[in-house]
Amino acid sequence: MDVGLFGQYVANGLMLGVIYAMVAVGFTLFFGVLDVIKFSHGDVLTAGAFAGLATYGGLQALGFASPAVQLLIMLLVAVAAMAFLGALIAKYLVLPLRTAPPLNTLLLTLMLGAALRECVRLFYPQGANPKPFPRLLPQDAVALGSFMLRLDNALLLLGGLAAIAAVHFVITRTKLGLAIRAVAQDAETARIMGIDFERVVLLTFALGSGLAALAGIMNGLYYSEINFSIGLLLGVIGFSAAVVGGLGNIYGAILGGFLFAGLQTAGAVLLPALLPQLPSAYKDVFAFAAVIAFMAWRPTGLIAEKTAERV
């Protein structure tokens, strides 16, 4: 294969991997502290991307022209709004169902996801149509041999890795992170230590949802387009990545995200090469089939944190 094309596939795979890992980390955090699967997570990502787009529209109308300022404000607004939404969902929908069977939480968040998705479709102006997402990052490209490294992609990749590193830092090095890990391991003993359980749960949901908003905006910047259903597939992929990695384990989720992106990219490259009648669009089928086979082999994921007995 041509080196330039190969580089393109690697860059694309890494980019997708970062986005998937960011979504997967949310799933794994929520499962860690509450043992629940929150299926509205992908649609929170969609809402975050649209919140960013709406902010962009507002800034254009107000006459802020600098792309850097626009992007910064979009990120701040979208991340803050989704962090708040995540905490609201935790407080009013997930926590009250703590004593109910876990299937109820699953069903409720599934419905909430559908409602969020429909709200974006119905209330956003022409929300049913794909929306062009502004290109706010510099579009220059650097030629590395026959591979063109686009500056915007490099920045996105670095930004995503920095976000994951920041979350990792919060979890492993801060007092909040210690509380989150304690609650994840033994919620009752964590309360006996003086940890405000509800506050830690709300902050965890805020953290995961803010990260989803960031992933949504990165997704928009990468494809220069968003639509109301992007969260559907990204949610399922993020969930798969978290399960493949081992639910509850942050490293597992990051690993799972990159693994899934690797499978997709491999599918896109190998399928047309091996079976000429299969177009690369079958990459998702290939990746999900590989995940299913993997789960049959290792039901608890790569790094088993706790068994998913509640799903």
Partner: protein, 236 residues
């Protein structure tokens, strides 16, 4: 002596059934007060009620003159109550140092956390050697040290100790009781819940006997050692 903790006629239960019925007792400041009782007598439920994990349906729990019944657990802990829970309950995937740090979660001053950790390390030098090791990989005796050290970390005014002898060898039980007595000499008031009558009465000042959710006897430790109810509650 003034009572640091006064429990006034509490009833506590899960679902429909009351496990504790109209229980009243007092823990004098500076004392070791013990609660004796066999399995199922309601001892652990009493601890859960004081911590706010299972709030009482009726009655008051007065800490230093203020009713704490119904407060969330973290607010009760913030008032100076700590617990060494039954079965040790260390956080298995956290290090020894992180476990201890969590004991002093309400303390924000890093210097104080450090100096208290040093005190715990002075009591249990073994923990200092293993500070970076994951608690779940350590022996039962070492986990008991972590759990006790974690309970001392907040320098609580009232320390609830739930069945410290459970599942430990006689030698370790002896050592742990010595540490509990030492904590009391350092000024910590203790409420000690135990099945092990002889060793408990040897260090306690006074105590109560629970049977089927009611207080059936109370008195000073020497009185309880002679009491027929104690014998009946255990061996009867």
């Amino acid at each position: 002596m003034a009572a640091l903790l006064g429990i006034e006629g509490i009833s506590v239960g899960y679902d429909r059934a009351d496990v504790l019925r109209d229980v009243s007792l007092a823990v004098e400041a500076g004392s070791i007060t013990c609660i004796l009782g066999s399995n199922g007598s309601g001892k652990s439920t009493l601890i859960r009620a004081i911590l706010g994990l299972t709030p009482p349906r009726r009655g008051r729990i007065v800490l230093d003159g203020a009713d704490i019944a119904g407060l969330p657990t973290h607010a009760i802990v913030a008032r100076g109550v700590a617990c060494i829970p039954e079965g040790r309950r260390v956080f298995p995937k956290l290090t020894v140092a992180e476990n201890l740090r969590l004991g002093a979660y309400r303390e924000t001053r890093e210097a104080r956390i450090r100096s208290r950790m040093d005190k715990v390390f002075a009591i249990f030098p073994r923990l200092a050697e293993r500070a970076g090791q994951l608690a779940g990989t350590m022996s039962g005796g070492e986990q008991a040290m972590i759990s006790i050290g974690r309970g001392l970390m907040p320098e609580p005014r009232l320390l609830l100790v739930d069945e410290p002898s459970l599942g430990l060898s006689p030698l370790l039980v002896k050592e742990n009781f010595a540490v509990i007595r030492r904590a009391n000499e350092m000024g910590i008031t203790l409420l000690l819940v135990e099945q092990n009558v002889r060793q408990t009465l040897a260090i306690a000042h006074s105590g109560y006997v629970l049977s089927q959710g009611r207080v059936v006897a109370s008195g000073s430790a020497p009185e309880l050692a002679q009491s027929a109810e104690v014998h009946q509650a255990y061996f009867g």
